[in-house]
């Protein structure tokens, strides 16, 4: 407590490395985390306190207190305490289990091992024992234990790569680098142990992208920013080790600071239910007032004279006062009108559904051995009402695997497979892949199906060679050899990875690079090119070029980039080839492939030297440096000779297209948030059917601020009108069931409750035990069984017809209108339940002449009718009768009778004469023929109108679901769209992974399976998409990311000199620019 108080005052953090004693005095928290809410001692008080903040429980408590006042107590206390205890216990058990699992996961995390430098030695230590100021060692692919200041790493210049997926969901690697003063420490344990720098920095906060602090070491100060910090939750990648000093630990880490209290999420049904409960409560009050006034009048007119028999105490003779007391009595009697049990039922149904989600084999992803997991039970039924799906692109829509699929070289397409008849056939069909076994460097995962390309290469087609050479030369890939001597490419952009790998497999192997050279192996011979200039990629240029000198001394510019851009810069002689190539490009684009145009230019030695000089001048310039460089790039990248184009497939996850199609049919709008470039985003949109060619306009929203975006959206909306999908991705949920049952649950409750309203004067018609048990035992189980097990439409049909989903979205299944129908139905039923026995019992004697119109018999008759009516109602609403439904429906009727007979038995009366005054009643009443006739009539009268109403509704206004239900046998399974979805409800974020299901069946229905190939683009559009970041060219030419073991520069030619200190800042700056611009316009990308 004291500690937390101190923490709240913390304005500045001072940490000294390797000095626990020094840091001790600030009482910083250690690395232990607590996400659990309770422990054994605090569980009861805290949990009860939380529970009694809920309206429902307070209401119960209030009733309980009312019932303890003898003057107004109209029901005994157990009618309230039983449900209250039941609800509270159930919730407590649920909370306890949840917390138990939190304890478990906390323990698991706290007990992870990390290597900590203690007493000048690296020791294994549990995460929870890591303290602020400790120096810990991380190895590749390890989770970061705390927020660290990066000191040194295995990579040159103290660089390290981290993946921040857990923090921000981005899967691309980020670069962090240590201060140059500390990166020198390396892995030298003794030096690291002596490191005694003091970090003064900001207090713990939740800003993931900001950090400010100062490191004082050896008498000098170094400012620290976010680039030097590795946050807890990140994973170290591509870096064999690094050392860091713990700045924030445990709950102070940025990750934990962000995971604040999870907001309790309410579904729209919850909200609706709350509103309705409020209304019902208001209704109850009105009812109470009306009845109280009635009571006053009655007391005044009749009761006054009736006093002989009831001798009111003097003080109570006042009829107004009597009315006042009656008001409270009625509030108690009618308390079940407020459907508190509804909350419990809904809770249980949700729990049941979440188990079904967890158990569903069709939602099991065998690839990762992951079953679906409903992390929260509160939102299940909302799945049936999803209107928008927001999705990430990479990893969700796409596998983030790029594969080189096709290319067009000098007007000829390679990679298209033709069968015997000369027809284009499906790529995925079994066809012998081109064998690369002759090539020792071949990547086994690479598959290419067109043998013509290999033939062309063997025949020495110069254009083909030039094309592949370009692919091997013009890129930012880094190569390295692993311990086994295999060539490993470190790829910054997966597109380039695909291209370089393709070139490698086709015999043009990129071997190594230095800042000045690129070495490739051309069909077995090593060739070293001098890298003269690197014209880096950026979002405006949409192209990148390298200028190299081959061993023969020729200078060549190799360029790849967006077709639209490159085509403008071609030499006029390329016209024919351009037409041909652009046809090819548009064909590729139509297939959803990402394309790049490829071109080269032979450069004159003199011309290049002049140009290079100008470039150097421009670089040295202070004024308008960037513009001048830009201009020079423009100048040299012209009169290009077109070579062809590449087509890379950004591999979609299996089933994405089918899923997206189904989602569209289900009227679910999909939004994809992506940090990609516009072109890439559009490309993916087409690839996965979110955008189709029949959408006339794609509106591009490119605002950078919230205001701009809103404005643009508004404009787009005006233009749009009707066509409302902007951009999207596919994830689905069909939750066919829940909403339907919910209304039934409500309905039953309401029926039951309203039946209670109508009762004689100041008289509770029912046996008090009946009231207590009614909601809990007699009717809740069948409702629950229905809620949990019912399937109004079978899974096949619901898959086949995504349109079934629409009513849920429109809230057609449970809304206020429906609710009022339920209420009307309930009132009607209750009237029937009361007045039919009333009329029948009035002035009537039983078979043995005895009077049967005593209030106990009347109560038993009504209760029995009610239970049967409700069961019949549930039975009618249950369209899917499993054994469990049978057990519950019949079981609850059986239970009712057995409980009835037990409670009316001599034995129980003998033991508790005061509690069970209904002795013998069931036996006597239920043997009377006329009572059964009354019950029968009541059932017919209450059920028939409902059936008739439904019949007419189905006949006159059939819904799709009705048709499916009525006509399943005729239509049979219609189409085969097989989607398996994983529900991944985590912190309110639906992260759904899609799987295709039953490929065998898919094969059987090839007609239905939609393939990208079948979609032909009617319009020409560019398939350009390239995941590339600016700044890497600079990194390469500066050589900063190259290991020292690389051969030193051999060329005497001056290389482009940049301000050597600025490259990393440039890179970082550009990276953050991208990030921040992304965060600004993340609302809409298109």
């Amino acid at each position: 407590m004291l500690c937390s108080k101190k923490k709240s005052l913390e304005v500045e953090r001072i940490v000294k490395a390797n000095d626990r004693e020094y840091n001790e005095k600030y009482q910083y928290t250690d690395n232990r985390i607590h996400t659990c809410k309770y422990n054994i001692l605090t569980f009861l008080p805290i949990n009860l306190f939380e529970q009694f903040q809920r309206v429902a429980n307070v209401y119960f408590l209030f009733l309980l207190i009312l019932q303890l006042i003898p003057e107004i107590s109209s029901l005994t206390w157990f009618t309230t305490i039983v449900p209250l205890v039941l609800v509270v216990t159930m919730t407590a058990v649920k909370d306890a289990t949840d917390d138990y699992f939190r304890h478990k996961s906390d323990n698991q995390v706290n007990n992870r091992q990390s290597e900590v430098l203690i007493d000048s030695k690296l020791q294994n230590e549990k995460w929870m024992n890591v303290k602020v100021g400790d120096i810990i060692k991380l190895e590749n692919n390890q989770f970061v234990a705390a927020d660290l200041l990066l000191l040194s790493s295995s990579e040159p210049h103290g660089l390290c790569y981290i993946e921040t997926a857990e923090l921000d969901g981005e899967t691309n690697l980020k670069v962090r680098h240590a201060l140059s003063v500390t990166s020198g420490l390396g892995a030298d344990i003794s030096r690291l142990a002596k490191f005694d720098g003091i970090v003064v920095c900001e207090a713990p906060n939740n800003k993931l992208d900001k950090f400010t602090g100062v490191l004082s070491w050896k008498g000098s100060e170094h400012s620290l920013n976010n680039e030097k910090i590795i946050l807890r939750g990140c994973v170290l990648r591509n870096t064999s080790w690094c050392f860091g000093m713990v700045i924030f630990a445990g709950p102070d880490t940025k990750l934990m600071q962000n995971s604040g209290k999870t907001k309790f999420k309410r579904t729209s049904i919850d909200r609706l239910m709350n509103t309705l409960v409020l209304w019902i409560f208001g209704f109850l009050i009105c009812l109470g007032i009306i009845l109280a006034i009635g009571n006053s009048i009655w007391e005044n007119q009749v009761g006054d004279q009736f006093r002989t028999f009831l001798f009111w105490n003097e003080g109570e003779k006042n009829s107004v006062f009597s009315g006042f007391l009656t008001f409270w009595s009625y509030i108690i009697i009618l308390n079940t009108v407020v459907p508190i049990s509804l909350y419990v039922s809904v809770e249980v149904i949700r729990l049941g559904h979440s188990y079904f989600i967890n158990w569903d084999r069709k939602m099991y992803y065998s690839g990762k051995a992951t079953p679906a997991q409903a992390r929260t039970t509160t939102l299940n039924e909302e799945l049936g009402q999803i209107e928008y799906v927001f999705s990430d692109k990479t990893g969700t829509l796409t596998e983030n695997i790029m594969t080189f699929k096709k290319c067009s070289i000098n007007g000829r397409i390679y990679g298209e497979v033709h069968d015997v008849l000369g027809q284009k056939t499906d790529m995925t069909k079994k066809k012998e892949a081109v064998g690369f076994s002759v090539n020792p460097e071949a990547d086994r995962t690479f598959q290419f199906f067109d043998h013509h390309l290999m033939e062309s290469i063997k025949m020495g087609d110069p254009k083909v060679h030039e094309f592949l050479r370009l692919l091997a030369l013009c890129h930012t890939v880094m190569s390295e050899e692993n311990s086994a001597g295999e060539l490993i490419y470190q790829v910054q952009s997966p597109d380039e990875g695909a291209l370089v790998t393709a070139a490698k497999n086709l015999g043009f192997i990129f071997k190594s690079r230095t800042p000045e050279t690129i070495t490739i192996e051309e069909l077995g011979t090593l060739v070293t090119y001098q890298l003269l200039a690197f014209l880096d990629f950026n979002n405006f240029r949409k192209r990148m070029s390298v200028i190299v000198r081959n061993p023969e001394g020729q200078i060549k510019l190799y360029s790849k980039g967006a077709d639209t851009i490159l085509f403008e810069r071609l030499h006029p002689s390329n016209e024919d080839l351009l037409t041909l190539t652009s046809d090819h490009l548009s064909e590729f684009a139509g297939e959803g492939l990402r394309t790049l145009a490829i071109a080269y230019r032979d450069l004159d030695d003199k011309y290049f030297k002049e140009w290079h000089k100008m470039l150097e001048d421009a670089n040295a310039a202070v004024d308008k440096r960037d513009e001048r460089i830009e201009g020079l790039y423009e100048e040299i990248e012209r009169d290009l000779m077109l070579l062809g184009a590449t087509a890379v497939e950004d591999k979609l996850q299996e089933g994405v297209i089918e899923t997206v199609t189904s989602l569209s049919l289900a009227n679910i709008k999909i939004w994809v948030l992506t940090g990609d470039k516009q072109e890439t985003a559009i490309n993916i949109g087409y690839a996965c059917n979110m955008l189709t060619d029949d959408m006339n306009d794609v509106f591009i929203i490119a605002g950078n601020t919230a205001v701009e975006v809103r404005e643009e959206l508004r404009k787009a909306k005006e233009n749009l009108f009707g066509q409302n999908r902007s951009f999207s991705n596919g994830h689905v949920v069909f939750e066919k069931k829940q909403p339907l049952e919910l209304d039934s649950v409500v309905e039953e409750t309401v029926t039951g409750d309203y039946a209670l309203i109508i009762n004689g004067h100041s008289l509770t018609v029912y046996d008090q035990w009946f009231i207590t048990l009614f909601n809990i035992v007699y009717t809740s189980l069948p409702v629950l069984a229905m809620g949990i097990f019912d399937q109004d439409v079978n899974d096949q049909n619901s898959m086949d017809c995504p349109q079934l989903y629409k009513p849920g979205q429109l809230n057609l299944l449970f809304n206020k209108h429906k609710f009022f129908i339920c209420v009307a139905h309930g009132i009607y039923t209750s009237l029937a339940l009361f007045f039919i026995p009333y009329g029948a019992f009035y002035n009537v004697a039983g078979e043995d002449g005895q009077h049967i119109a005593d209030y106990q018999s009347f109560a038993v008759t009504m209760a029995t009718s009610l239970v049967i009516v409700v069961s019949v109602q549930i039975a009618l609403d249950t369209s899917y009768w499993t054994i469990i439904n049978h057990v519950f429906v019949w079981g609850s009727i059986a239970t009712y009778f057995s409980i009835l007979f037990t409670m009316h038995s001599n034995g129980l009366f003998g033991i508790f004469p005061r509690q069970f005054p209904f002795v013998g009643n069931a036996r006597h009443s239920l043997t009377q023929k006329c009572i059964w006739l009354v019950i029968l009539l009541t059932i017919v009268a209450s059920v028939m109108p409902v059936v008739a109403f439904r019949f007419l509704k189905v006949d006159l206004f059939p819904t799709l679901s009705d048709q499916k239900r009525l006509y399943t046998s005729q239509s049979g399974p219609l189409c085969g769209v097989y989607i398996i979805w994983m529900l991944h409800l985590t912190l309110g974020l639906l992260c759904l992974q899609i799987r295709q299901w039953q490929k065998a069946q898919k094969k059987a229905r090839p007609l239905r399976s939609r393939k990208p190939q079948t979609r032909r683009s009617s319009s020409r559009r560019s398939g350009y998409a390239f995941a590339h970041q600016e700044g890497y060219g600079e990194l390469i030419t500066s050589g900063k990311n190259m290991r020292a073991k690389n051969p030193p520069p051999t060329s005497g030619l001056e290389k482009t000199l940049y301000n050597s200190t600025s490259w990393i800042e440039n890179l970082c700056k550009k990276t953050t620019d991208t990030v921040s611009s992304f965060s600004q316009d993340k609302t809409v990308k298109l």
Binding site: F309, P371, Q791, W881, I883, L933
Partner: protein
């Protein structure tokens, strides 16, 4: 880590029917034909039952004689509580035009007596009435104890307000000979009431069992002296008392008083002729503007049914048929239209 990889295969959910929601199930499909024939059948059934009920209700003979006004003198006397110990008799002659065949039951009937008042209903002590604890008067407010604190037995408002008129039916064979119609007082209560719910305290002598208690204020005599003719019909197990204690659900109710003993002139039932009720008028109704009547009635197979149930069945049956026909019309009409569309 190792454990994790072992776990992997087992993470596939069980392939049981329950978990995969593939329990064998019957899909309830209410087709139009089923619903329509259901409605038709229900209509037939209701109308049938209704007709049977109405016909059998017609065979019931019932005579009701309201004697509130007819015994005005006595009523006036009872208005003054001070006259509670004065007897008042009243004779009401009437003519039975037809023979009442079979078992005939005699009821007393009260109008406007709210035996269903909430506080009234609760004002009794079941543990006292079952004889376990004569002095247990906990729930009996406002009739727990007398002024001097002695517990009342039987306590409570219900017992205190017990109907205590005596009704004797006599048959006028001719103008001079009046025969008292033989009546049975037993068998008018539920078996469970008589033998389970109501028990006298176990004592040799009933009056000593009630020692330490006092009679309800409205009662002229203590409970153990309710029936002077039959000593076995006293205390809590007195039939009339038990019948009264089974509180009525509505403010107008009739309670079984006596059954016809079918001997002598009455083996067939009550023959037509002139009768008279001789009533000892004790129970005051004028104070709450109530009325009281005596009812003679026969029964049928379904008891002393009124016309209501039969009529209700008829109405329900008729409405069901009406619904059936209109639904049929709608359905056929729509089907025609659908066919039309299909042909197009």
């Amino acid at each position: 880590m190792k454990r994790k990889s072992q776990d992997c295969p087992s993470r596939l959910p069980d392939n049981s029917a329950v978990k995969q929601q593939q329990l064998p199930a019957y899909r309830l499909q209410l087709s139009a034909n089923k619903i329509l024939s259901g409605f038709f059948a229900t209509g037939v059934f209701c109308l049938g039952v209704g007709i049977i009920l109405l016909l059998s209700a017609k065979t019931i003979k019932e005579v009701e004689i309201n004697y509130t006004e007819k015994c005005a003198n006595c009523a006036k006397l009872r208005e003054n509580a001070a006259n509670f110990d004065k007897e008042c008799n009243c004779s009401i002659p009437f003519v039975l035009p037809e023979t009442m065949k079979g078992n005939v039951y005699m009821y007393y009937k009260l109008y406007g007596f709210y035996q269903n008042l909430y506080r009234y209903i609760l004002s009794r002590s079941n543990s006292q009435l079952v004889g376990t604890d004569v002095k247990d008067v906990r729930n009996c407010a406002p009739f727990k104890t007398s002024h001097n604190g002695i517990p009342i037995a039987p306590c409570g408002a219900i017992a205190n307000s017990m109907f205590n008129d005596t009704i004797i039916l006599s048959y006028n064979l001719n103008s001079s000979i009046h025969v008292k119609v033989p009546m049975i007082r037993s068998g008018i209560t539920w078996w469970t009431d008589k033998y389970v719910k109501f028990q006298n305290p176990s004592f040799q002598n009933l009056s000593s069992a009630f020692a330490g208690t006092t009679k309800p204020p409205n009662w002229p005599k203590p409970a153990y002296e309710l029936d002077e003719e039959d000593p076995g019909n006293n205390g809590f197990i007195n039939d009339d008392f038990i019948v009264w204690m089974r509180t009525a659900a509505f403010p107008t109710f009739k309670k079984l008083y006596r059954r016809l003993h079918r001997i002598e002139h009455f083996t067939e039932g009550l023959p037509a002729g002139s009768y008279s009720f001789n009533i000892t008028y004790n129970f005051p109704v004028n104070r709450f503007q109530g009325e009281k009547a005596v009812v003679l009635s026969t029964l049928t197979w379904s008891g002393g049914s009124s016309l209501f149930l039969g009529l209700a069945y008829m109405v329900t049956g008729a409405v069901t048929w009406l619904a059936f026909f209109s639904m049929l019309a709608v359905h056929l009409r729509l089907r025609e239209r659908k066919m039309f569309f299909l042909q197009q």
